[in-house]
Symmetry: C2
Subunit: 322 residues, 2 copies
């Protein structure tokens, strides 16, 4: 069995190949450029670990893992277009560098390439199940992105609606990646579902942590400037909760700050967050999701020893200091 870090190195080596034809370069160079920007490759590695939780790694699981990573990168390229984001991992986004039309098409062919890898899996019940889950998840991720855009135009978004959106946009893919691995490992339906829920809850815990760190993190440790979400008026777990639990007076003050664009904005919003107790609430929420995730892992019917790598992964992904 492998730890996350071992699989991570192996997957990086496996994934570092040319996934596209050489020509036309005007289409495939942009696709290659984006993949070369790197990333933690958490989802494909989760898929490999999901297989190994139940049985020896199957050769075909590598194809599923590659498909997942290509799919994830397809969503990033298209999301960057929609969000008009100039940078991703401190490099130019595809549309910024090559234009929107090419970025759109590069995303499209990346999605097709994902299906090419899926179709390499040897035919059988497992394949049908995996492609079904892949398709269901792909649609959900698109739905999440659409809801996110809808929320931008909508001042009043309540916690449940936000949770539904962020679950689709960021968490179901982690759950599905693990479950696809579990299917390859021959897991029972119940064990598959438990592992899916482990991943989904872990995804939510990670998202809460990410929102928290963007507001309250130590820039040195967080690795990027904090306050970005606040400056962009991005709806986050923190902001949604603050708006929902603030007194009328606090809410007015917060709304005024959101509409401002002064250097004091970040500091002011953070102060409001603290007044509303959002910081402590977020830490607690993250721990709740993480504990629920770990409980699902605990309930899976395999010997505890096999669960260790996934347990370590859960702690690793949610251990960031605050």
């Amino acid at each position: 069995m492998h730890q996350f870090s071992e699989f991570s190195t192996q997957f990086a080596a496996y994934f570092d190949r040319n996934h596209f034809p050489d020509v036309p370069q005007t289409l495939y160079d942009p696709a290659r450029y984006f993949l070369a920007l790197g990333g933690k490759r958490v989802r494909p590695v989760a898929c490999l670990m999901g297989n190994e939780l139940f049985d020896d790694l199957r050769e075909d699981t590598w194809n599923v893992a590659v498909a997942i990573e290509l799919f994830h990168n397809f969503t990033l390229i298209h999301d960057d277009i929609m969000d008009k984001a100039p940078l991703r991992r401190n490099k130019e986004t595809v549309h910024q560098k090559y234009g929107e039309s090419t970025a759109l098409l590069a995303g499209d062919v990346m999605l097709v390439a994902a299906y090419e890898y899926l179709n390499k899996v040897t035919a059988g019940i497992a394949k049908q199940q995996i492609v079904n889950l892949f398709n269901k998840t792909a649609k959900e991720v698109c739905e999440g992105q659409q809801l996110d855009m809808d929320f931008e135009k909508n001042a009043a978004v309540d916690f449940d609606a936000y949770l539904h959106m962020i679950n689709l946009k960021t968490s179901v893919l982690l759950g599905a990646s693990l479950q696809m691995g579990a299917i390859m490992g021959g897991a029972s339906e119940r064990n598959q579902q438990l592992l899916y829920q482990f991943g989904r809850k872990l995804g939510l815990a990670f998202q809460v942590q990410d929102d928290y760190l963007d507001a309250f993190g130590d820039p040195q440790k967080f690795g990027k400037q904090t306050g970005g979400d606040i400056m962009a008026n991005k709806k986050t777990f923190l902001l949604i909760h603050a708006l929902q639990t603030a007194t009328d007076g606090q809410r007015s003050e917060l709304q005024a700050l959101l509409q401002s664009n002064t250097p004091e904005k970040v500091h002011g919003v953070l102060k409001m967050f603290q007044q509303c107790g959002v910081d402590a609430w977020a830490v607690e929420l993250k721990e709740r999701y993480r504990n629920e995730a770990l409980q699902h892992l605990d309930d899976i019917a395999v010997v505890s020893k096999r669960k260790e790598p996934l347990k370590q992964l859960a702690l690793f992904l949610t251990q960031r200091e605050h």
Copy 2:
């Protein structure tokens, strides 16, 4: 066996269903809107006919046909964004009506929906082959669109490069649709390839005819205003050939006309086309592609009677008056 018109009616009824979840409406209503704009559904019907050329229609072929039509509509939605087209079939395009981001996502989920239908096909060798061909063709269509955009920035495009582009952008999908049907019908590899080439050449003949009619067609019979390609400086079979075969003097005159934007532009360009003999050349080129298509059909090893519906289709698609 069925004629094109019979299958066309049957497919329209079969396809007229809700292919998407109800919510979020902000994502799926745009997708439904676009499918409701209609179309001739030539490609899915070609798939059904490809199956029936070799054997009784299989239930699963309907799933393949639906997947093909959804894929085709996905490309139209995304192409319309890239081309900044306000109208499609005299109705607002998706991005025009719902915004670019939503159109992008609606296209994405439509592609995923296409794969959902493909995955309904009962597992087996045929399914693996069909998904392989589907993926290969999907990438080629994206490549064709990218090359088309590249050509817009490139003044000098020669005939071979243009033919390569238009083949990918418009013809391979018709060939592949027929071949997917042939695979479902249990055709031999050689028969599959002949049918593919029949469709590809027929697609080229149709494209030449379309270019010709946009220039020289009778607006009453063509069903739309002529001269649109000329006004938009669109590269077509006619323009590419004219630029390549004109004398230096004619070429200068043509270039000057292309850079103008006067009401006389269309008339002037048409006159140049005639001086270069482009009109007669195009009629001949179309007939050559059609004859090559029919020859491929002829070479397929099944009794002639079974080929009649496809022969009629070829004549129907290329019979437009000129």
